[in-house]
């Protein structure tokens, strides 16, 4: 830990214009959006649509050339961030089935499979973050803000968690599906799914508030960098479950992304956002009773 006063603030690379980063983000999002949405126009709506695999392939296809084409080097950190989001989420989602295919009856309970898939997501995210540190020139390199956690930041994480849970309880139950607690299921699942949710929160914070926000704020103003990463965070939740009832939550996740981005910048640490995100995910896991269609 280090106090905030000892932590140097990230320096914006002011010599560079803001618009290449914004253009990169918009074009990449358009490309991913096209890859996600265009096939729906001719795909059977009742069929199994491998949209996550599709998004992963598209994000990697878009990011890979930036590693080799010199002209695309400024876009590299942003494209790596987007690839981290899509590819590792697919790893998380497909992880349990991959384990079953590989290990059969030795793959453990579904809870255990989810934990191992979450570990894989965190490892994948960390590797991409490491690649971003190694393969991006200092001027464009995103600051992940993982080294610092002040007492103030810790307090912000705890307070933010309480506020988020309070807001969740204040919203109508039927809107969120948080109709009941299930003590038996909680006792059985929390040893596996608690750490799994914490790892998923860590991964997403590294992806959005670490890699993406860190990359954008090198050339954009802090406010616009935050708005941009929050927009991608919101849109990513649309992509997670497009066509499902989660779509109305895009504005909510946008606002949550804004708040997380503000908090990360304010405390100069990723950890408060990780703490709040983890608490929120665990609360969602155990406070929301799923519906027939999984929501």
């Amino acid at each position: 830990m280090a106090t905030e006063a000892r932590v140097p603030r990230l320096q914006r690379y002011r010599a560079a214009p803001w618009w290449p980063a914004a253009t990169t983000l918009v074009i990449a999002e358009l490309g991913l959006g096209a890859a996600l949405l265009v096939p729906i126009t001719f795909s059977d709506p009742n069929g199994v649509d491998p949209y996550l695999a599709r998004l992963s392939v598209a994000s990697v296809l878009i990011a890979m050339p930036s590693l080799f084409v010199r002209r695309l080097a400024p876009a590299r950190p942003i494209l790596l961030a987007l690839a981290a989001v899509a590819a590792t989420y697919t790893l998380l989602s497909a992880g349990p089935q991959i384990l079953v295919d590989l290990l059969g009856s030795h793959s453990g309970s579904f809870d255990a499979q989810v934990l191992w898939a979450s570990v894989a997501q965190a490892v994948g995210t960390s590797l991409i973050a490491l690649a971003a540190r190694r393969l991006v020139v200092p001027e464009w390199r995103p600051s992940l803000r993982l080294r610092h956690l002040s007492l103030r930041g810790l307090g912000a994480g705890v307070l933010g968690s309480a506020v988020l849970i309070g807001l969740g309880l204040a919203l109508p139950a039927n809107l969120l599906g948080r109709v009941a607690l299930q003590p038996v299921a909680f006792g059985r699942d929390v040893p596996w799914l608690g750490p799994a949710n914490a790892l998923q929160a860590f991964s997403q914070e590294v992806q959005f508030r670490g890699l993406l926000l860190g990359a954008l704020e090198r050339t954009m103003s802090p406010r616009w960098a935050n708005v941009s990463q929050a927009a991608v965070f919101g849109l990513a939740h649309l992509a997670i479950s497009y066509g499902g009832p989660e779509a109305p939550f895009v504005p909510i996740t946008f606002l949550v992304g804004l708040a997380f981005g503000w908090l990360v910048r304010r405390t100069n640490s990723l950890w408060p956002a990780v703490i709040i995100h983890a608490v929120a995910d665990i609360a969602l896991q155990f406070g929301i009773v799923q519906g027939l269609y999984g929501f």
Binding site: A28, G47, V57, Q182
Partner: protein, 293 residues
Amino acid sequence: MAFCAVATTFLAGSAPARAADAWWTPVGLQGTAVTRVSAIGDTITVRTGSGATLRSTDAGRTFAAAPAGTTFPPTGVVAIGSQRWEIDSAGRVVHVANASQSSAAVLDPGSPDLGAGADLIASPESLPGVVVAVGTDGVVWRRGQDGDWKEALLLLPASLVQGVPQVTSVTAFTQPLEEHVVDDSVYLGTDGYAVLISTDGGDDWIRAGPGLPDSVFSLSADPIATSPGHVGVVYAGTSNGLWEHELQAFPAPPAYHDAQLVWRWIGIGAITLVASIAALLGMTRLVPRRHPA
């Protein structure tokens, strides 16, 4: 949540490709509150919010006033074969091992104090020894097949200004359904959260009320098939009439294995490739040549 939904998509089995039937469909008495329901075959007896007792002998198509003295079966007793589980006047769960031989009612060891006046209990025929009972404080308890009682469900407040919805009913199939059809479900009716289902004896619950009004006052599981192809029906008395749920598999994305699927996926792949290349070309054109790299 979202992750589970996505995981479900990935883990989808090979269900046949067909549109799912509605989970709940209206039977009749729309616009009328139905506070009690009891169904056996085509005969359905209901009590309305105004206190009238009505009976239908044609599976709910028409209703008429029920004969005087018509009563509803008690909700604090459940009989499965010769066994009987019931909540006594003190709010404890007692077990009668063989009701046909007038066995004595024995307090089930470890059973919770549900509170005087508690009268909601259910036990699915397909899970011997499993019992779900509701306390007067709204806590839903479950008895596992090992005899262990645990709190299984605690309803949360509907919002800041609304309280915790009341559990109004609980039911399960207490007789065998058609051959090879097993329904492990325990159905829980609530005045606010519609219906919740547990298929593992009360450990895990899901919301299963799509289409149904939020206020459900009474449930009745009828194992008698009323028409060919029916294997059992759950009736729900709600704030807006009588509804029924015909047993069916849980919805799952159907999986296809036809030749068209290959072309569909090839098309999806091609679009992914084109979109990616277009994005790259766009970036190559728009990102400036001069940069610090």
